[in-house]
Homo-oligomer: 334 residues x 2
Amino acid sequence: MQAPSANRRFVLVRRPQGMPVADDFRLEEAPVPEPGDGQFVVRHLFLGMQPAARIRMSELPSYEPPTPIGGVPYAQTVGVVVASRHPGFAPGDHVASDGGWQTQSLSDGARAVRLDDRIRPLSAALGCLGASGLTGYVGLLDIGRPEPGSAVVVSAAAGAVGSVAGQIARIRGCRTVGIAGGPRKCRHVVEELGFDACVDHQAPDFEASLRDACPDGVDVYFDNVGGRVRDAVWFLLNDHARVVLCGLISEYNAEVPQPGPSWRQALVRRITVQGFLVRDHARRRDAFLDDMLGWIGDGRLRYREDVSVGLEQAPAAFAGMLGGRNLGKTLVSI
Amino acid sequence: MQAPSANRRFVLVRRPQGMPVADDFRLEEAPVPEPGDGQFVVRHLFLGMQPAARIRMSELPSYEPPTPIGGVPYAQTVGVVVASRHPGFAPGDHVASDGGWQTQSLSDGARAVRLDDRIRPLSAALGCLGASGLTGYVGLLDIGRPEPGSAVVVSAAAGAVGSVAGQIARIRGCRTVGIAGGPRKCRHVVEELGFDACVDHQAPDFEASLRDACPDGVDVYFDNVGGRVRDAVWFLLNDHARVVLCGLISEYNAEVPQPGPSWRQALVRRITVQGFLVRDHARRRDAFLDDMLGWIGDGRLRYREDVSVGLEQAPAAFAGMLGGRNLGKTLVSI
């Protein structure tokens, strides 16, 4: 596979106010990167969109420095090595890395993983067999730690992380309730993903429907969204409930930190809230891949991809995901 | 020891609005209780005041039903059995139970503990050798789980729970910073209790002083107070910090649940917040007593009692504690 003559890339031209819009980014051409010693060049096949990338477009403190103005927005990528002066990566290797919104990227290997040959299609390395899937797996099993029979609620249940977390809960014998936006997603969550129920947070009777769907309260809440959805689950939590704080999609567009729910409930119910990032749990990757390939192979776990075609779709795909228009993992194929 | 001819008791005549005042309670005489089958009567020697008892004076949901109007306000008590038809408790036994704001109470033994003979003075069974001490012990060691060298912050550090939690942190080799109200308490926390530093939350430069006192951030925060003190610590927490949610003194007088801090910080720092109640940890009592008696015996752990004399002082002692006027355990001697 030959590298094209130019690298096409988006750069951030200003900090988005609220939902990102097209004019926050500029598409430009740049020279094809040349690998230095210990580096290699990846030609991207897919970009994987993650809600948390929105945090880096702002200047609020986070676990990573903000994307600078003029910098390439963050995305995980899957691609093929086209040139290498790195001993661990050879031309033709398939790798997952964080190459960003561009057609090619330079890597020193520090955040790159050569793909396990069992990962097919390659795009799954960005979704259910990649960081999104590992996030759902670690979050549910290691942070949430439900017992068989536990009442588990998952928000953004039709998304890349929530769909994996909820299906694993179902496989582990939990009563599993999803929360998603709109009837199409809710049907998908129940009929295709096998959740026991799914509640539409856009419906006017959301709070009452959620209560009805959780007649015995909630033991584990896997939260991807924060905000009013989280606040509705908060008062259904049982004694000793565990909250897996995985994401806060509903708050990423805010310019200032949003208040959380009252701690009085956490005290009287002895609730544990635990924030986590998948990067701290890379040692679980082998067990994760073995389990996931098994579950996918025997039909117990399903996934969807929401693919836009062409790099120029990146801003719209990203905003669509933040607005909840995706079903499954949001990808851009290059 | 002879039971007196009447039981003197306070009853709740209305739900306090904000800080409890004298007119929220009425002192009255009632007949001396008669033990039925499986019951016994305790003559109280001390009442132990706990901030969380304020929750039961409101109608907000909690782990216990509210004290009814006309009911006796909650307090733990230490006393002597004066009459018994219970096989496990004999006249003359010293017991800790939750007898409330009165001179005598009836018990079926379910929430009563016969005191270990090593507990002297008896009042310590309500403070550092009782529920308050066990709360500090379990909260710090089992929930907070600091390592030697961890940076530990304890709010209400001069109180019955905080003083124990912080001294155990110091004994375990942590760098220990207290937060307390006013220079007298702060001096006590450093000079008598041996904390490395103590920051006055009433001082105008509280936030800056706290930052200065925690140059390497905070690994474990033992929170007794909630509110603005908690919010100041929140943004000093390190990656993987643990918050021991033990109490919310600053919020108990509020009529509606108060918002908590933003979860964005908990996500990017991978923070765990865990609410706990000491009643879930009774199995730790033996190890606790052994450790505490050892530490007190060799002078490594100290405690103070803030004793008011006479049942009629109960409302003022309770309000004084909620207002932060106590040093150590707030007791009423009968």
